[in-house]
């Protein structure tokens, strides 16, 4: 990739409201997790997501980025990640591109999740909180594409 990864730059709310699009080129440093999540949450708000849904999408992005750092890059904190979020209509689409190992994430087992065993919560979030989650291996890494409709019930409402 040609872009130089950098810390998450501040975003202008007015521009965000007009473009309904966020593009971030960051490093895999966990220090960037919070600012990247906040940027995506701001996009969700602009796109009409309620607070709970916005929080769920922010959590998903956090978990996806943390998985990239831990697994795709083996804990390295200076590697590039590109995040693009956009909602041209009623659906939010987020892509996360890395240039790491390219290995598919661990497939969730059929057995119920044991809450006292570490790991796996991030992938559960991805699967449960988004309408679609697609991992597409690239020649030099991985592309994760996630979609969520604005009208999708949040987990709390979905669980009644």
């Amino acid at each position: 990739m040609s872009d130089t990864p950098s810390p998450v730059p501040p975003f202008d709310p007015q521009t965000l409201a007009q473009t309904r699009r966020v593009e971030l080129n960051i490093t895999s440093d966990p220090a960037n997790l919070g600012p990247a999540r906040h940027a995506i949450e701001a996009l969700c708000t602009v796109c009409g997501f309620d607070d709970k849904s916005t929080g769920e999408v922010g959590l998903v992005v956090n978990e996806a980025l943390a998985n990239v750092t831990r697994h795709a890059y083996g804990g390295a904190i200076d590697q590039p990640i590109r995040i693009i979020g956009q909602c041209p209509d009623d659906e939010l689409q987020i892509t996360i591109r890395d240039w790491g190992s390219g290995e598919s994430p661990i497939v969730l087992p059929d057995a119920p999740h044991d809450p006292l065993k570490p790991g796996g919560i991030g992938l559960i979030c991805l699967r449960q909180l988004m309408d679609q989650t697609i991992f597409t291996p690239q020649d030099d890494g991985m592309l994760l594409t996630m979609m969520r409709k604005r009208t999708r019930p949040s987990m709390e409402r979905a669980n009644g």
């Binding site: 966990p30 220090a31 997790l33 919070g34 999540r37 709970k52 929080g55 769920e56 922010g58 959590l59 956090n62 978990e63 943390a66 750092t69 831990r70 999740h113 809450p115 006292l116 570490p118 790991g119 919560i121 991030g122 559960i124 979030c125 449960q128 909180l129 987990m155 709390e156 669980n159």
Partner: protein
């Protein structure tokens, strides 16, 4: 009652109260600072082998799975000497994550510290 030094702004206050340790956590917790949280929870907060470790999360608007992992590890260490982990004053996003992770029934969740000390 005695204060416990935590050495981090992430846990601004902690104190021993009988066989309980009560601590307040402050800020968003993710992979960036969850190792710092682990250092406090696994270190000074359970050094006295409390029967109750009560974490006040009223100032924690957000946490991710790395923070959850720290709390699960803390719970497992507490259980070795018969201790329990109490989480109080949960904010909505934190409560939601615990539900997704199915941990809302593993920890003891209470409305406030007073309830945690009597439950």
């Amino acid at each position: 009652m005695a204060d416990i030094a935590t050495g981090t702004e992430l846990v601004p206050t902690a104190r021993q109260d009988g066989d309980a340790v009560l601590a307040s956590i402050r800020g968003e917790i993710d992979l960036h600072n969850s190792p710092e949280l682990r250092g406090v929870l696994i270190g000074p907060l359970i050094a006295s082998q409390p029967k109750r470790l009560v974490l006040n999360l009223s100032q924690v608007p957000y946490m991710d799975s790395s923070a959850i992992a720290v709390m699960v590890e803390t719970l497992q260490k507490l259980r070795k000497f018969g201790g329990k982990l109490y989480l109080t004053n949960l904010q909505p996003r934190v409560k939601g994550l615990l539900e997704i992770a199915r941990l809302d029934s593993i920890f003891v969740i209470t409305a406030d510290e007073a309830e945690a000390l009597t439950k």
